[in-house]
Amino acid sequence: MNPTLGAASPRRRPGADLWRRLQQMPLLALAMLLPVVLCGLFGPWLVPHDPAAIAPAMALRPPSWLAGEGWTHLFGTDYLGRDVFSRVVVGARASLLASLVGVGLAGVAGVAIGLCSGLFGGRVDAVLMRLVDIQMSMPAILLALLVSAALGSGLVAVTAVIAIVFWTNYARVVRGETLGVRQRDYVVMARVLGCSTPRLLWKHILPNVIDSALVVASLQLGAAVMLEASLSFLGLGVQPPAVAWGKMIAESRLYLATAWWLPTFPGIALVVTVLGTNLLGDWLRDALDPKLRQM
């Protein structure tokens, strides 16, 4: 619709397109997520203190710089005298692992089911969508509780719970997208060319519905960390010595009035992560939409 703006101008160098897109990267989102991801990957090597080393005599000290005691305990210490900063840094791994793997598993399952449902329609669609309905009609947190009560607690259980609770969203969204894409001219054209169903799914439909799945995923990452926190609140989160932000926040609620630094720093980490993934999601949505990309 806007040929004059087409980028096929004669002065384009190879790579220029990539550079332009890089420039439009959500720098803020990356700035937020990069430290988080670094912590997740290298947390144990970055920390000033052993996050598990207890020192009961040092319990519940406020951030050391506030007391003019230098930078030894940047974020203070917890009820066992452990360094909160180190725990927040190391906690990134479990939080990210549970949410990334959980959301990833949910995504794979949900996308596959959504694709089948949307492409084949009819009875397959009816059955799959009823399954989605059934799951959605069960309250998520209660479902999560039931699952973790059955699986026991721990990182694996939390991840499984996240996957089980979240797949339906993908299934619905991808199904809707597939229904739309399947009628698009390029899919029709692929059929005119004699495309086989697997090729159609893989080459034409999946690449065109995966965006919305990615956007859903980016939104769900935050929700997944929250679910982890809620499970911890109800007593079923990850297990020590594993550290996760949700668990830290949930456990520190006893100290809300007396040791503000306990919930605050993991809380900030959580907010930054969710904000980052949401911004990234917004950007993804725009960036992956070729029409918007042109503007």
Binding site: G152, G235, R253
Partner: protein
């Protein structure tokens, strides 16, 4: 002074019917309107209650109760021996706790309207300390209203009657004008059920209630520093938070006494109590000082990591070993997870590679039951029976006896000693036997204690409350409250 009081407690009772009460919270509420045959004073002494007197036969197999004649239920029905028989029958069926307490009873007979004879299969020194096992309910009322109304709108003989109950929300009590005993000072009480600790404390701070129970240790310092509030600490002692071993499996490192001892030496329980638990709980070696057989000479396992490592090396574990430490992630014990983390860290420090396995209450309980098998590999943070039972022999058989239903330990010498002690009615002699038992256990380390529970009541500074001592429940009896 006001005569209405608001109280926030952690949980709903599971039943209102006092004859069916079986959990701690049930008793917290129900003992305000239901009563036992025998009473306890706030100081913890036993005194006549609905039974004005009782006589224990010399062989300990029969107790004869004489009932008060002036007692009326809230429904207006008089209290008689028929009610006692009915209550015992009902309690045995309806309440698992009562069933246990009445296990030693062979039969009960009424002697006229105001006398009751209880026959035992074997002497039971816990029967009177347990105040006669069940709270009294009215047979006449039951016959009149039937099961449903009886369970929903229970009547008792207590100083208060139950007027309203909203599940999950609150419960109202009102002074019973026809009460046989001393008239309590407070006319009305409302219990709020606030499961979240922080909220419960907030409710007190906001002035919405006058008193809360199970005040979290983390809030104690803050409340103590404010002059509007005061705290009452009640040693409940039982159960005693301990590290418990399933000792029977020879394949496990802790089958070796030295390893268990090493682990006891590895944990700085004093530091935990002081820094993590706010210095509030008690730390008894085994029994509380007021208990029969208390041994002042007995000392704690000291915190001695060097000795711990030496013992481990001696037992052949100089490189440590892998350990799974089980603990409960839900349930009513506060700061369980924190405690588990601390203990795990101490074990790690002497080379024991500890993996914490937190389980939700039921799974945790099931695992404990399963660990009674001699093949079990089991070390857990568990609430063991040490101090604060009706009688020390009762807990020893329960928790340390070979056939003890919740024992993961077996020691023929101990069993023999305990059998002797149980059969000894003479207190001094029994005390000596108990001291021997305790020393034996202390030496063999089937478990080692971390702390003994002290529950904290927090209240506005104008509230006067004397909770019942020397008893293993944190009762919240309105009759013992008043305003200054």
């Amino acid at each position: 002074a006001p005569d209405k009081i608001g109280i926030a407690i952690g949980e709903d009772p599971s039943t209102l019917d006092q004859s069916a009460s079986w959990t701690g919270v049930d008793y917290q509420i129900a003992e305000n309107y239901g009563e036992f045959l025998v009473q306890r004073t706030p100081a913890g002494e036993l005194k006549p209650g609905l039974a004005s007197a009782w006589k224990v036969a010399p062989d300990g197999k029969l107790i004869e109760f004489t009932l008060r004649k002036d007692v009326k239920f809230h429904s207006g029905d008089p209290f008689t021996a028929k009610d006692v028989l009915f209550s015992f029958e009902r309690g045995r069926v309806k309440s698992s706790t009562s069933k246990t307490r009445l296990a030693s009873v062979e039969r009960i007979e009424a002697v006229g309207d105001y006398g009751v004879k209880v026959f035992f299969k074997a002497p039971d020194v816990t029967f009177i300390p347990n105040r006669g096992g069940v709270m009294m309910v009215s047979k006449a009322y039951f016959d009149r209203v039937g099961e449903d109304a009886f369970a929903k709108q229970p009547v008792g003989t207590g100083p208060y009657k139950l007027v309203r109950y909203a599940s999950g929300e609150s419960l109202d009590l009102e002074r019973f004008a026809g009460y046989w005993g001393d008239k309590p000072k407070i006319a009305e009480a409302r219990f709020f059920f606030i499961p979240e600790d922080t909220t419960r404390v907030a409710k007190l701070k906001a002035g919405e209630v006058d008193l809360i129970n199970a005040c979290p240790y983390s809030a104690v310092k803050d409340l103590e520093s404010r002059k509007d509030f005061k705290l009452v600490k009640l040693p409940v002692d039982h159960p005693t938070m301990s590290v418990v071993f399933a000792t029977q499996n020879p394949k496990t490192p802790w089958h070796d006494r030295r390893v268990r001892l090493a682990m006891a030496y590895a944990v700085n329980t004093d530091a935990i109590i002081k820094n993590v638990l706010g210095g509030i709980p008690n730390h008894w070696v085994f029994l509380a000082p007021h208990e029969l057989g208390y041994d002042p000479a007995l000392k704690h396992y000291p915190y001695d990591p060097a000795k711990s490592r030496a013992l481990l090396a001696e037992a052949g574990y100089s490189n440590g070993f892998d350990l799974k430490l089980y603990y409960a992630t839900t349930g009513r014990v506060q700061m369980n997870a924190q405690l588990a983390e601390a203990i795990a860290a101490y074990f790690e420090a002497v080379g024991i590679r500890t993996r914490l396995v937190g389980e939700e209450w039921l799974a945790y309980r099931s695992r404990y039951n399963a660990s009674r098998k001699p093949t079990a590999e089991y070390v857990a943070l568990f609430t063991h029976g040490r101090a604060g039972s009706p009688d020390p022999t009762y807990n020893v058989s329960l928790f340390f006896g070979k056939d003890g239903p919740i024992s993961t330990y077996a020691n023929a010498d101990l069993d023999q000693l305990n059998a002797d002690a149980k059969a000894t009615v003479d207190d001094a002699k029994r005390a000596e036997l108990i001291r021997k038992e305790v020393r034996l256990i202390q030496e063999d380390v089937p478990s080692f204690p971390i702390y003994n529970n002290v529950t904290v009541y927090a209240m506005k500074s104008n509230v006067v409350f004397k909770p019942t001592l020397k008893y293993n429940l944190d009762l919240t009896l309105v009759k013992d409250m008043s305003f200054a």
